[in-house]
């Protein structure tokens, strides 16, 4: 009987939900239509070349030939720096939630066999994309993504650490992107060029250095995000139970005799 009432209630609430979602759909359709009209007006506003011409005009002084890379690592390098920080923040957030779940069962021979040639291929392609990013499609993000993908495959193949090094090394690799980026920027500022203002002569090499660090950081961060928790290491507590017991008592348990419940 209870299951019947539950079912009836569920049905009724589903009905209500359907009405609600229909209403929301109608409203959003109106919003979409209005936005489309506005978008059309915006397109016709005559701002047409926008920043495109200027971006191409200044390209020779950026140290790279790929205009997108120029925007990412020169014109708007500051955005990219903060974006690396976003990725890092997300990963640190993931780590703060507890240790990684144990890996999957060791996969079959097919996957293992695949790993042995796919992973090197991904890494080499990543390196290639990083290198060509200066003048053709590619760059740190794409390269980093491939490194990350390599990590995912390694983890799928049964390595719980996704091929990443120990926690201490991992931490340094993770911060490499932002750290190199910021230090280059600050160094330029100290030497009088201004924060993230590359002198055209060495721009290419500075950008390459930043991109290399960023590639590693992105790759490690993405792979570590896929691992999904703090890497098991010597400092970390071994089991999930410990962690939960800990979180349940904070902050009440700190240095006071807990009163009776």
């Amino acid at each position: 009987m209870t299951s019947m009432t539950r079912a009836r209630r569920a049905a009724r609430s589903a009905e209500r939900n359907r009405d609600l979602s229909l209403l929301v759909a109608v409203l959003l359709a109106l919003l979409g239509a209005a936005l489309t009209v506005v978008y059309f007006m915006a397109l016709q506003a005559g701002a047409a070349p926008r920043l495109a011409d200027l971006a191409y005009e200044r390209l020779p002084g950026t140290g790279v030939q790929n205009p997108v890379t120029a925007v990412l690592l020169n014109y708007r390098a500051y955005d990219t720096l903060m974006e690396l920080a976003v990725l890092l923040a997300a990963l640190l957030g993931i780590w703060s939630l507890g240790p990684a779940a144990p890996g999957f069962q060791r996969s079959g021979a097919v996957l293992a066999g695949m790993v042995s040639w796919v992973v090197p291929l991904l890494i080499v392609t990543g390196g290639y994309l990083l290198w060509v990013g200066g003048y053709a499609p590619g760059g740190a993000f794409q390269a980093g993504a491939l490194l990350g993908a390599a990590g995912v495959i390694v983890r799928l193949a049964g390595d719980p650490r996704a091929g990443l090094p120990g926690e201490a090394a991992q931490r340094w690799l993770l911060v490499a992107g932002v750290l190199v980026f910021t230090l280059v920027g600050l160094g330029l500022m100290v030497f009088g060029a201004g924060f993230l203002t590359y002198p055209p002569k060495i721009a290419k090499w500075l950008i390459l250095a930043i991109e290399m660090a960023a590639t590693v950081a992105i790759g490690v961060a993405l792979a570590a995000a896929y691992v999904g928790g703090r890497p098991p290491g010597p400092q970390a507590r071994p089991t999930a139970e410990d962690e939960d017991a800990l979180s349940a008592t904070e902050p009440a348990a700190e240095n006071t005799p807990a009163p009776s419940p």
Binding site: T36, Y39, A52, V68, T80, L87, I94, A225, G228
Partner: protein, 98 residues
């Protein structure tokens, strides 16, 4: 060129509204996250559309860079949200076991 911009951009707006709708009406976390990603993709699509300047002129690289940044931001947020969801699931299961 304007037609293409409008057409593709309009599709982006449709995706935006679609994702928003799904975010508002669907309860499960995974669906909400997919919805958010589609909403974001819609906005990115608008940016890519306005960067397009026809077959002859090269596209505006600035929106491209913005979208690249946006993609990384989106995947970071997705990863964190999914892990928070997983932690929540664990906690709920624990509560139920008690």
């Amino acid at each position: 060129m304007l037609t293409a911009q409008f057409l593709y951009g309009g599709a982006g707006l449709v995706l935006f509204a679609l994702g928003l709708w799904s975010f508002l009406v669907h309860e499960p976390l995974l669906r909400k996250i997919i919805a958010l990603n589609i909403t974001g993709a819609g906005v990115f699509h608008v940016l890519i559309a306005i960067a397009y300047r026809g077959d002859v002129a090269p596209p505006d690289p600035v929106p491209h860079a913005l979208v690249l940044t946006g993609i990384v931001v989106a995947v970071s947020a997705t990863a964190l949200a999914l892990m928070l969801g997983a932690r929540l699931q664990d906690a709920e299961e624990e509560d139920r076991r008690r």
